[in-house]
């Protein structure tokens, strides 16, 4: 069996597909929620926080695995704890970074401890760190669906003030936006999303779902409509595409997802810099004919 057969193997693809439609559905749901939350992660500069939350979520999940609890509940508890700690202690960006830097190894260490004590299958252990393709059973899917609905509903309510508070906290506060209250609200939404993402991509690679798609979208557009739409599309293509490619191989799911999302980011980055060179800044988007370099400058 060659190395390529290990990575890509499409024998009995139809049967596998039928078996794993839960995973594909879960991937699509995660793409939707992760793509939207990612926009605000970028706007609020919380990339590092995502990583910190995911490590504590991993600790919670492995604790749940050890004591025989629901793993989703365990990871939710871990990530909410992290979100609260980061939200309460790390109001300023600098403080936040150091608190996350302290929390992250602690969470990872706890997780490793619980997993070492866990007597069960090692695939379950490894899955929490690097993602897993199997084991999205019906109850788990209901959990994911329910939490996603909660996060999406909350996003729909707070979208405008949250965007205002993220872009411009001072002016938003002057306009009566409850800037301080929105911060923990967003951290809770983020915590829930991270806890779900861990079930599919694993703790180490949550960023590829919560940061990379939004970052890619923001390279090619600044539109208030297209940034979230593209971010969701990129995240969904990464998760669903990654799962479809991973089906037959014997490799964890995350390399497929991270590679797709990285490739999308690279393409967007190239497109974005080409567009910037053409003088994107001074003309309305779309209405820009090929003008000589510098013609758009005032």
């Amino acid at each position: 069996m060659s190395i390529w057969d290990k990575i890509f193997n499409f024998d009995d693809y139809g049967e596998l597909l039928a078996l794993l439609h839960n995973s594909i559905l879960a991937g699509a749901i995660l793409g939707l929620v992760g793509g939207l939350i990612g926009v605000f992660v970028m706007m609020r500069d919380l990339t590092f926080a995502v990583h910190g939350i995911s490590e504590l979520s991993f600790a919670g999940a492995s604790f749940a695995l050890l004591v025989g609890m629901n793993v989703v509940v365990g990871s939710i508890m871990g990530s909410l704890l992290a979100a609260v700690v980061i939200g309460v202690l790390g109001v300023k960006a600098r403080e936040r970074s150091s608190i996350i830097g302290v929390l992250m190894p602690f969470g990872l260490g706890l997780g490793v401890l619980f997993l070492s004590l866990y007597p069960g299958r090692s695939a379950n252990k490894f899955g929490l760190l690097t993602g897993q393709i199997v084991a999205v059973d019906d109850p788990q899917l209901y959990w994911l669906g329910g939490i996603s609905l909660l996060v999406l509903a909350a996003l729909a309510v707070v979208w405008r003030p949250l965007m205002f508070a993220s872009v411009d906290p001072d002016i938003a506060a002057a306009r009566g936006v409850p800037v301080r209250a929105l911060s923990p609200v967003f951290m809770l939404m983020l915590g829930l999303t991270v806890a779900m993402a861990i079930q599919v991509v694993g703790a180490l690679l949550v960023l590829s779902l919560l940061v990379t798609p939004a970052a890619a979208a923001m390279r090619v557009t600044a539109s208030a409509v297209w940034v979230p739409v593209l971010s969701v599309v990129f995240a969904m293509v990464s998760t669903v595409g990654g799962i479809l490619l991973a089906l037959g191989g014997s490799i964890p799911i995350s390399p497929y997802i991270t590679t797709i999302s990285f490739a999308i980011w690279v393409v967007c980055r190239l497109l974005g810099s080409a567009r910037t060179r053409r003088g994107w800044s001074r003309r309305s988007v779309g209405a820009a004919p090929a003008a000589p370099v510098g013609a758009g400058r005032v």
Binding site: M42, V157, R160, P161, A174
Partner: protein, 303 residues
């Protein structure tokens, strides 16, 4: 110098401000009554009576730490007055509202934030409302034309669709003014909006704010360390220093005698080429020139 005896009755003696005549019974855009603010044992100012009518332009001057920005923060409701009371358009000061437009000192938007200038202006219009920023049909067209109108009014029509990260300081400041004016506030608070701009853009933005307050009858409270760019437009000057203040027309407040009394040290107010320069021989006023370069050029009296 504890009593601001020099403060004239504000607004009442002033000619009606330019702009649409407000009905006589309208409350002033901003009213502070016997207001005081201090932190711990330090008093920034006390017994401040300030009334700004609709369409009036008030400049706030003073050295660093004299409480200029704190004054704005009390009006924004972020800091409570230590004594006295205040009201915006008749309503007591409280946590933010659409009656107030705010142009902050820090105008920059994080470069990683990809957002179009037009969407920043839209935040001033409806960014404080709950829900998704989705509008369809007539409402969508109405929002769009309102934003276009705001962009045109600040001369930003050309770069309305550009991401803010690609705008220059002067362009961004225009967007900020449009954003602040979007909700048609009764009071526009400006915190050193010219600080980051070169001379030409300072004059442009000052003229722009003046034009808008005439057009809309918006009262302007304009914190600045340099009076000169706004001197042609200013109705009243509030000069904060040393725990006290002076309030009145620019030619009443910005006098050698007046500022010397306020600082308790000899201060010269020079007028040259239509500009005002404050020069002092003491450290107390040292960091507090209205035009640092000009004062330095004027020679040894500086410090």
């Amino acid at each position: 110098m504890t009593e601001p005896a020099t403060a004239p009755a504000p607004a009442a003696v002033r000619p009606a401000p330019a702009g649409p005549a407000a009905p006589a019974n309208d409350p002033p855009a901003l009213q502070l009554r016997d207001a005081g603010l201090g932190f711990g044992r330090r008093t920034l100012w006390t017994h401040l009576d300030l009334s700004i009518a609709r369409g009036e332009f008030v400049a706030v001057l003073g050295s660093n730490g004299s409480g200029k920005t704190s004054l704005l923060r009390t009006i924004l409701g972020e800091v409570a007055l230590t004594s006295g009371s205040g009201a915006i358009s008749g309503r007591p000061l409280g946590r933010g509202s659409t009656d107030v437009g705010y142009v902050p000192q820090k105008i920059a938007i994080d470069a990683a934030t990809m957002i179009k200038a037009r969407d920043v202006v839209r935040m001033g219009l409806d960014g404080h409302r709950w829900g998704l920023p989705v509008a369809v049909g007539a409402r969508r067209r109405r929002i769009r034309s309102r934003i276009d109108e705001l962009l045109e009014s600040v001369g930003a029509g050309e770069f309305g669709d550009a991401p803010v990260s690609m705008l220059s300081g002067g362009e961004l400041q225009r967007i900020r003014v449009a954003e602040a004016l979007a909700s048609d506030p009764v009071l526009l608070l400006c915190d050193e909006p010219l600080a980051a701009l070169d001379l030409r853009h300072q004059q442009d933005i000052a003229a722009l704010i003046d034009a808008q307050r005439r057009l809309r009858g918006t009262a302007v409270l304009f914190v600045t360390h340099d009076i000169n760019p706004v001197l042609p437009y200013v109705d009243q000057v509030l000069y904060l220093a040393g725990g006290s203040f002076r309030l009145g027309r620019p030619d009443e407040v910005l006098t050698s005698a007046g500022l010397s009394e306020l600082y308790g040290a000899p201060v010269d107010v020079l007028r040259a080429q239509g500009r005002i320069i404050v020069v002092s021989s003491t450290e107390a006023v040292g960091h507090q020139s209205h035009d640092d370069h000009a004062a330095t050029e004027l020679g040894g009296e500086w410090r």
